[in-house]
């Protein structure tokens, strides 16, 4: 049998073996058996030297063509096996829950505070801050709250046992005084922060709670300005269809003073026409005088509200103590 006649059967046999390989090792074995140094196809090529000069080109051509074909089959088998090896042993269930790196949650009070800060910043307000341990001057006296005012009762205020009777601020309004004393007007600040009242903890009270205060002092500031800003901020916070009502009230550090009520789908759901949400007013001239500003030249307004109250309304939370328990199931709802 001539060499030429041996090529095709040998090739066919090799192809069968490569195609049959199911893993890398059987493929490696097949490769060795056919194309390795001692391989049968390599042997065939070695016999080329024994051929006559005339026969050699033809045989060479045929062997090369067969070799290309075998190597192609080898490559295909290799890819086929690689793919089969790479594929997961079992199919993935794309409906099963994923492995989630969980994101921590901001406390709901922080979220509400930040929303408030954002709306005020749109209007050019910046955040200001002051100490939580205050003195009577900044918390009361300078705010036109005389010594015999009910708000100064020891029943309402926590005093710290130390010289000079420092106290825990009962409102963020103390920051008004600090900022106005340091800074020439115009002043345009918002002050979020912790405040303290001597209330026994229950569903609606916690001795620690949070307030936000806004203050604007400039020339020609009016009640109409105050209304415009308050309406803007509360519509941002409580929805664009929120109605706002101003009701005359009394605070010692503003004159005139108002309480702010709102009405929206939330209040309707609660069966109320209006719900009180904040207090505000024009900065009392006595307060301006106290910080060295002439009330004839400068006027301003301030307003403040409780962050817990807004958060409770917004999310329908019925117990203020939940905010301070930090149950992760609670925190993860916001």
């Amino acid at each position: 049998m001539s060499l030429l006649d041996e090529i095709d059967p040998l090739k066919a046999e090799a192809l069968v073996e490569f195609n049959a390989a199911t893993n890398q090792s059987s493929l490696d074995r097949a490769k060795g058996a056919w194309l390795g140094p001692q391989g049968r196809f390599t042997g065939l090529m070695k016999q080329m030297g024994a051929l006559s000069k005339e026969d050699r080109p033809l045989a060479g051509q045929a062997i090369n063509a067969a070799k290309t074909e075998i190597e192609k089959a080898l490559q295909e088998a290799r890819e086929r096996i690689e793919l089969a090896t790479a594929a997961p042993r079992e199919p993935s269930d794309f409906t099963a829950p994923g492995r989630r790196p969980s994101l921590g949650r901001l406390h709901p009070l922080t979220q509400v505070t930040e929303d408030i800060v954002k709306s005020f910043r749109k209007l050019g307000f910046v955040v200001a801050d002051g100490p939580e341990i205050e003195d009577e001057y900044h918390c009361f006296d300078a705010l036109n709250t005389p010594a015999d005012h009910p708000a100064r009762d020891a029943q309402d205020t926590f005093y710290v046992a130390s010289d000079g009777r420092p106290l825990l601020r009962t409102h963020t309004s103390s920051v008004q005084i600090r900022v106005m004393k340091e800074q020439k007007p115009p002043v345009r600040i918002i002050v979020p922060g912790r405040v303290y009242r001597r209330d026994t903890a229950d569903a609606t009270h916690n001795p620690t709670f949070h307030q936000v205060e806004g203050l604007y002092v400039d020339r020609d500031v009016t009640v109409a300005d105050l209304k415009g800003t308050v309406e803007f901020v509360f519509r941002e916070l409580m929805g664009s269809k929120t109605k706002i009502r101003f009701r005359p009230h009394y605070f010692s550090y503003t004159e005139p003073s108002f309480e702010i009520d709102f009405a929206n789908s939330l209040t309707r759901k609660m069966g109320k026409d209006w719900l009180e949400i904040a207090g505000c007013g024009m900065v009392h001239p006595a307060v301006l005088e106290e910080v060295g500003l002439d009330p004839e030249e400068w006027s301003g307004w301030a307003f403040g509200f409780g962050i817990e109250r807004i958060a409770m309304l917004r999310y329908g939370i019925n117990d203020i103590r939940l905010f301070y328990e930090n149950d992760t199931r609670f925190l993860h709802q916001f």
């Binding site: 099963a96 492995r99 989630r100 790196p101 969980s102 994101l103 921590g104 901001l106 406390h107 922080t110 209007l123 050019g124 307000f125 910046v126 801050d129 100490p131 939580e132 341990i133 015999d148 005012h149 009762d153 926590f158 005093y159 710290v160 046992a161 009777r165 420092p166 825990l168 002043v187 345009r188 600040i189 912790r194 303290y196 001597r198 026994t200 001795p207 020609d220 009016t222 009640v223 109409a224 300005d225 209304k227 415009g228 309406e231 009502r245 101003f246 009701r247 005359p248 009230h249 009394y250 004159e255 005139p256 003073s257 009330p295 905010f323 301070y324 930090n326 149950d327 992760t328 925190l331």
Partner: protein, 801 residues
């Protein structure tokens, strides 16, 4: 403060419904906190008189009548037979809602035709009015019943009314009386205020012959008025008086006391009535002495409480004994009793601060002290006294002695305030006609003294203690004009400035980084217990008068709060807890500092269906801290192991920047963990946030990306347990191997082939030059130098790889 709709109507005309009235006074600044409808039984039913009675033309058993309802004659068809012309009957007029039993359909009287004849109402039987079971005939009323009177009134039921519960702000004591409120309404609608009558017939001898008043402390009592009524009959009050007091929450006692309470509710001025004959008499005179109590003086108030007084308490006394705690409560010894004959009526003004201090000091809060401590009307004392005397005479009889004894040594200054119309407009942001502003203020009974083009000057009435300067008048104009009439203008103004603004964002960044790392934000109580605080520090800021013993100090650290939150979670089966808090902490001084604290326990990742349950360990905590520091741009923080077990930590390290300790981290002592319900390891850290934010660098600059390949050399070496990663870094820092750009610890191993007390550290060192591709020879020379330094200085034994 409670007031009723009908009571208000006695002093001012208005045609608002109950709801409208509530809305109006709320918008005036007196919030209506509740409305309770009261009385009003048999509304629409009146006493009628039968004028004619004829046979119904179309029905044998019916009669056709004309009945007078007090204002007109109505035609009524009636089926009853038991009445005749001239009888007084209960006539239900058109629109009456007849009383029905529960579950019955409402029954409203309508005008209609019965067998072709119009009927404009119904004459009622006892059963139709649910008075009795009698339905055989209509109710025939006594002959003397007043035609046109409401049937309810005829039966002695109170008329329909609504009781408002009002929130009166502390600056407006004048609104603690019905007249004060009526004045506001009068100003709002421009109607006249109808003051009740206080005219008197004084028939007795002069009061001054039998009574003297001696004020020994004019500061505490600038005015005291006494009147005397003799020969009264103490007994129950008439129904109108007692029922009205009950409506506004005051318990009726007897006619004399009720009359004084009624006038207090009417005017806002408290009064007191003494049994005249129980005051000591000296030379035919009873002397009322207004003096400070002597220290330790004993006194028993009406409620039979014994008090020991101090020199700060003001006492009303006679020549021998105290008879009333001024402005707070009368004395038991001179109380009006059933057999009291003669009454001494006190109307006075007391210093608000003093009454407040006494009331608070003795824990005795009364309707009188409530009003005096807010400031009564010194100017109205005499008028109120006359008004009360008139009422006592009306309900208890007796004879009024002529005149009064009105000690008024300290006349109050009269206040005058000028309102500039331009100021009003400038503050409110609208234009208010000067004439309108003046109208509003005059409507509130401010007397205008003068005016010119730009301003008007007013005398402030004595009851308006809140009006002190121009802005107070502007507020009055705003209230009466209506704040809802001021349009909201678009926010205007400047760009604000404050140093803290940027810091607020830094605090926000800390929160964002930590939540991004999977940790939930907590908010803890600022006030905690001594015991919890003692875990951290003995240097505490304490409350002077704590509310409760578990809230008596200001937190010296955020960790106790996080541990409390941990317990809240663990007791509710939330076993994997990762919390942080950003907040303030306090120390004696007092001083406050911002702090950030972390707590990790339980599984590292959320539960997953492939059941991986790696627990957090100290490296997870460290990793969070490293990530936080890097994102803030804080570098050079060292973690220095503490060798001793602390009161809080089983194992811990201090965080230091140079010589400054800025925080700590570690694993909670298991015995403490148990106190907080923890069964697994709990990891805690706390860092001074003020320092972190001071030390942060926010400058960032670009470094070219490496252009040449790096060479890595891995080394495993055996060292003593005491050798730390930081020791290795220290040596590298010292010898600075050429081109070494990164050192990475990739394995720590103890066990096989490593003897007890030693460990194997495996490092990967990366060498790279920014200028060229390094040759092996160059890398090896630097690396060999490093290896020999590690060998000698740690010391270390290099393992074969």
């Amino acid at each position: 403060m409670k007031v009723t709709y009908n009571w208000l109507k006695e002093y001012v005309d208005f045609d608002w419904s109950v709801e409208e009235l509530a809305e109006r006074i709320t918008m005036l600044g007196v919030e209506v906190e509740g409305i309770v409808e009261a009385g009003g039984a048999f509304e629409g039913v009146v006493v009628g008189e039968v004028i004619t009675r004829d046979q119904h033309p179309n029905a044998d058993k019916l009669s056709l009548c004309k009945v007078n309802d007090g204002s007109q004659e109505l035609q009524i068809v009636c089926g009853a037979a038991n009445f005749q012309v001239g009888d007084k009957v209960a006539l239900a007029t058109v629109g009456t809602n007849m009383p029905v039993e529960e579950g019955e359909k409402p029954f409203v009287i309508k005008e209609g035709k019965i067998r072709g004849e119009t009927s404009q109402g119904m004459m009622c039987s006892g059963s139709e009015l649910k008075l009795n079971e009698d339905h055989d005939g209509i109710l025939i009323l006594p002959k003397d019943a007043t035609v046109g009177q409401s049937f309810g009134e005829h039966m002695g039921c109170s008329e329909k009314d609504a009781v408002f519960d009002l929130e009166v702000t502390p600056n407006r004591p004048d609104l603690n009386g019905v007249i004060g409120l009526a004045r506001e309404i009068a100003a709002l609608i421009g109607n006249e205020l109808k003051m009740p009558l206080a005219d008197l017939s004084e028939t007795g001898p002069k009061v001054s012959e039998s009574v003297a008043v001696e004020i020994r402390d004019v500061d505490l009592c600038p005015r005291y008025n006494a009147r005397v009524i003799r020969g009264i009959n103490v007994g129950p009050s008439p129904a109108w008086l007692s029922s009205r007091l009950e409506q506004v929450g005051i318990r009726p006692i007897n006619n004399v006391v009720d009359a004084t309470n009624y006038v207090m509710m009417e005017t806002g001025q408290p009064l007191h009535a003494f049994d005249f004959n129980l005051l000591s008499e000296v030379k035919g005179k009873r002397t009322v002495v207004v003096r400070r109590a002597s220290a330790g003086e004993k006194f028993t108030t009406l409620d039979e409480q014994k008090h020991e007084l101090s020199n700060d308490n003001l006492l009303i006394a006679d020549c021998e004994k105290g008879i009333a705690l001024a402005g707070v409560m009368g004395g038991l010894n001179t109380e009006i009793q059933n057999d009291t004959q003669d009454v001494l009526l006190e109307t006075a003004y007391f210093n608000p601060q003093n009454i407040r201090a006494t009331s608070k000091g003795l824990g005795l809060h009364t309707d009188a002290s409530y009003r005096f401590e807010r400031g009564a009307d010194i100017g109205c004392v005499d008028w109120v006294s006359r008004r009360a005397a008139k009422l006592i005479l009306e309900v208890a009889g007796g004879e009024l002695l002529a005149g009064d004894v009105d000690e008024f040594p300290a006349q109050p200054e009269t206040r005058e305030i000028t309102l500039r119309h331009s100021r009003t407009d400038a503050l409110l942001g609208i234009v208010i006609e000067p004439a309108k502003a003046v109208d509003y203020l005059q409507g509130l009974d401010l007397e205008m003294l003068s005016q010119d083009e730009g301003s008007a000057t007013f005398r402030i009435p004595t009851w308006r203690v809140d009006l002190k300067r121009e802005v107070d008048l502007i507020e009055e104009v705003c209230r009466v004009h209506g704040v809802d009439q001021i349009p909201a203008t678009s926010p205007r103004g400047c760009i604000g400035e404050n140093d803290f603004d940027a810091q607020h964002d830094s605090l926000g960044q800390v929160r964002d980084v930590l939540t991004g790392l999977g940790i939930d934000e907590a908010q803890g109580q600022t006030l905690i217990s001594d015991e919890s605080a003692a875990l951290i520090s003995g240097d505490l800021a304490r409350l002077e008068y704590p509310l409760a013993s578990d809230m008596n100090v200001l937190r010296p650290s955020l960790l106790p709060g996080l541990l409390d939150s941990l317990r809240n979670n663990l007791t509710r089966q939330n076993r994997n807890v990762k919390l942080f808090e950003v907040g303030r902490i306090f120390a004696a001084g007092p001083v406050e500092t911002r702090s950030v604290a972390l707590l990790l326990t339980g599984a590292l990742n959320a539960a997953f269906w492939q059941g991986e349950d790696t627990k957090v360990d100290v490296s997870d905590l460290k990793g969070v801290i490293e990530e936080l520091l890097e994102s803030l741009g804080v570098y050079g923080v060292e973690f220095v192991r503490r060798e001793e077990v602390g009161s809080l930590f089983l194992e811990s390290a201090e965080l230091r920047m140079g010589k400054q300790t800025i925080g700590q981290m570690g694993q909670l002592l298991p015995v403490l963990g148990k106190r907080y319900e923890a069964r697994e390891a709990v990891y805690l850290a706390e860092i001074n946030l003020d320092t972190l934010l001071q030390r942060r660098t926010t400058n960032k600059s670009f470094k070219s990306l490496p252009q040449f390949p790096a060479s890595e050399r891995d080394v495993a070496m055996i060292v003593d347990e005491s050798v730390t990663h930081s020791d290795v870094l220290g040596i590298i820092k010292n010898i600075k191997p050429a081109n070494l750009v990164e050192t990475q610890l990739f394995d720590v191993f103890r066990g096989k082939n490593v003897s007890e007390g030693q460990k194997s550290l495996a490092y990967s060192f990366t060498y790279r030059s920014a200028e060229k591709t390094l040759k092996d020879k160059e890398v090896n020379s630097a690396h060999d130098q490093l290896i020999s330094a590690l060998k000698e200085q740690l010391p270390a034994t290099i393992r074969d790889t």
